[in-house]
Amino acid sequence: MTVIASSTAGAPGLPIWRQNLRVFCANKSALFASAVVVLFVAMAIIAPIIAPHDPNDTDLFRRLQPPVWKEGGDWAYILGCDALGRDILSRLIYGSRISIFIGAAVVLFATVIGILAGLAAGYLRGWVDVVISRIVDILLGFPYLIFAIGLMAMMGPGLVNIVLALVYKEWVIPCRVVRGETLAAREQEYVEAARAVGASSGHIMLREILPNILSAVTVISTVRMANVIIMEASLSFLGLGVQPPTASWGEMVAGGREFIMEAWWVSTFPGLAILALVLAINVASQGLRDAFDPRFAE
């Protein structure tokens, strides 16, 4: 028995999620990080309004123009230009769309698939579980990047294919978590009660179990989103990134690394952008975890 336990439970009477939200809001760094993520998302949405230039407008005479504070820089191109004379700031702004889209799309699809598969495996057991668990085992046996490279080679580069290639394996992670949680939930009273009143399996899985494990899954998904954004950069490094002229941060870092000594700004700014977004997602998700998944609370 500890005094701390009773005091962190927060004000009684509030719904759990409100209490959790209060804890989350008390975490200043997580709050700040969430603000940064929101800022990036906003930037992605209003990119056409705030981008000073067309991100694909090339001008070879501005090739590798330095940022404004360096000699040869110019206020019109604050962060300088890339190898084709395109405005790095504008590409960064538009690039946030791609990174966020890939991160969100992959995690969304993977989570939905993973939840359904995990629920089915954990609740229905039997052959369903055997089949799903085997598939999970097999997919886990592949090194992530090699699997993605193989798929990208098979399907060819492109935004949709990147999402697909990453989803193919990413769903395994939420699936495993959900399966474990479902196995545990299956034995809980509320599930047994639902079963006793004759609720269908589908109802029990989606209406009874899912809401109870959702917070754990959400927390994992946000962490994975950070991972996926890094993965996109890695694929770009290997030449399997998005199709031109689309600006993606990964592509910008990967493409700019050739100029790292001559024109460091070409790859450094997008690198910092990845760092900032991923860092913010990680900090925010850690805050979420502390607040919403008390088992991990520290």
Binding site: L140, G141, S234, I274
Partner: protein, 335 residues
Amino acid sequence: MNPAKFFQRLLQLAPVLLGVSFIAFMMLAMTPGDPVALIIGEHAATPEQIETLRRDLGLNQPLLQRFASFLADAVTGNFGTSFYHRRPVAEVIGERLPATIELSLVALIVALVTSIPLGVLAAIRKNTIFDRIATLFSLVGVSMPGFWLGILLIMIFAVNLQLFPVAGRIGFSHEVDPITGFMLIDTLLHRNFAAFGETLRYIALPAVTLGLPMAAILMRVTRTSMLEVLQQDYVTFANAKGLKPRRIFFRHALKNALIPTVSVAAIETGSLLGGNMIVETIFGWPGLGRLVVESIFVRNYPLVQAAVLLYAVTYVLLNFIADILYTLLNPRVKL
């Protein structure tokens, strides 16, 4: 672990390996691009010559037959001949594997020796400035694309400060006859300490690049589990027993706190092995990852096939090791 359980696990291995092989095979088969055309390149070749090459590479058989003979051969340890090296795949992989394992293990050590003290200290000094800095460090570690970090390290430590070399495993002033294939061990076995030191200098940057994200993950795990352990009754009880702080820390808290760290480390080692192609490329490290990626691009089917199988076996083994370590550290669990 009793033999029956052991064999049971071994049996579980079979479908995984079969599935991995099949998926890899189908993926390669469905990937457009003809290895024969790639080998011939722009040079002239008559249809007969092309057919000869196709036959020499074993590509003239139907798909399923190729898979069947791959499986049949693989069981006997024969993984075919690398299209490009014109040598047995097992030999080519065998040459590269030690470098990859060595790099991964050193990266693992780097990760462990940084993450555990940092994680433990962050837990003990929870919410202090030290904790915050360590946490930030760990988050930055997982938030950077590996290749970018690698190139930055090269620029700083190799080009500007000239403290470390850019690429390779060892310089050319030493000759080290391979015994185990692991340079760090071989140099010691030869009692060639200068070469050992040089090997360390060569492996430093790639190992740090590879190990940093893992250090970040392990630090988080260690910090969390240490915090959890410090709240455990047995730590309070150990305190109530009036034990010396050092003993409470090492014997009671740390040992238990490291259980999750060790499990996660064992599993993550798999992703080190499978995820180091980028680091290997940047640091000219003669490892397997780079070879496999190149092989995918040039459609070197037998090599990719064998490597994927090897990765799967490694994955299963590492899980197994994780289980064993978990059991060793945690007497409550029996395999």
